[in-house]
């Protein structure tokens, strides 16, 4: 697989990078390919590299000491992940990154990226944009967990993922690759509750579920549940 400097413009953190920045980054990075189910890094490892996914799909998950897993986010192509070491030299990865399908990522040494950012404020600002976006999203999810009904949380998780990863299928419906386990973890509930809610929505014609996928048959009804809107 050949990655060109221009390809890196698709990464939000590199959108204001100069051509020389991108060339330098490519020279100093390595490509890592991971089979489906394999890992880019584990929670607790020193954050020596940051990654840019160039092919495939990966998920970031965090485990509690009791072994319970929470899915934090799904990473799609040209998204950066594991960038904590770029800010703090002694950072450890707070989550595990697992490939959901055969995936390839560009690994950039955190120390090198830290050095680059010191003389290139545009790169720091773009990384801050990414980080503040994540913080806002996490605040929103925390509020949802603390205050909202489970149906609303599940609807919102589906819609949030749809905005990131949804595709229109041949019938014109929106389709999303998603397991019930992932949905439950993202919504802060159990797989049993997620399955019960999905089954109820399926009975009412809102969604169709299949193996690792959800089809949104009445997407606006999910918006109504997520946002507690009146029937339009």
């Amino acid at each position: 697989m050949t990655i060109l400097p221009a390809d890196l413009r698709k990464v939000s953190v590199f959108q204001h990078a100069t051509d020389d920045d991108l060339k330098l980054l490519l020279e100093r990075s390595i490509l890592r390919s991971i089979e489906e189910g394999g890992f880019f890094f584990f929670q607790g490892d020193p954050a020596k590299y940051l990654y840019v996914l160039v092919a495939g799909r990966a998920k970031l998950m965090q485990s509690s000491t009791a072994g319970q897993q929470v899915n934090l986010r799904t990473i799609s192509e040209w998204q950066m992940f594991g960038a904590l070491g770029a800010v703090r030299a002694d950072a450890i990865y707070p989550a595990t990154a697992q490939a959901l399908e055969a995936s390839t990522a560009l690994a950039i040494e955190s120390a090198f990226w830290r050095e680059m950012m010191q003389t290139r404020p545009h790169l720091s600002f773009d990384l801050m944009q990414l980080m503040t976006g994540y913080i806002q999203e996490m605040q929103e999810r925390y509020r949802e967990l603390a205050t909202e009904k489970v149906e609303r949380r599940i609807a919102r998780s589906i819609l949030r993922l749809t905005a990131q990863l949804g595709l229109k299928n041949a019938d014109g419906n929106i389709e999303l690759a998603l397991t019930r386990q992932d949905l439950a973890e993202m919504s802060g509930t159990t797989i049993f509750t997620a399955s019960r809610v999905l089954a109820e929505w399926e009975r009412n014609g809102l969604v169709e579920t299949g193996r690792e996928r959800v089809v949104l048959c009445k997407p606006h009804s999910l918006v109504q549940i997520a946002e507690e809107l009146d029937e339009s």
Binding site: R160, T162, A163, I174, P219, H220, V223
Partner: protein, 77 residues
């Protein structure tokens, strides 16, 4: 040159991105389209259908909003 105004099949996302001045009409019709996660997937026809608005009425409002803006662009030249 005038920009091509949104059509019935144009997505809400593209409409709002290319013609931010249409935001007020989405509010006027009391839709939840602004900031909606599905804006990329819904066309103006979907909006008309979902909110029981006559497509002609919606497109007339879109035309008015975008026409005013094109006039503005011309007068600024």
């Amino acid at each position: 040159m005038d920009r091509t105004p949104p059509q019935l099949h144009t997505s809400v996302h593209d409409t709002l991105t290319d013609w931010p001045e249409t935001a007020s009409l989405f509010r006027a019709f009391k839709t939840a389209c602004i900031g909606c996660y599905l804006a990329r997937f819904c066309s103006l026809l979907d909006v008309a259908d979902t909110y029981h608005i006559q497509p002609e009425t919606l497109m007339e409002a879109v035309r008015k909003a975008t026409q005013d803006s094109n006039l503005l662009i011309r007068s600024e030249r």
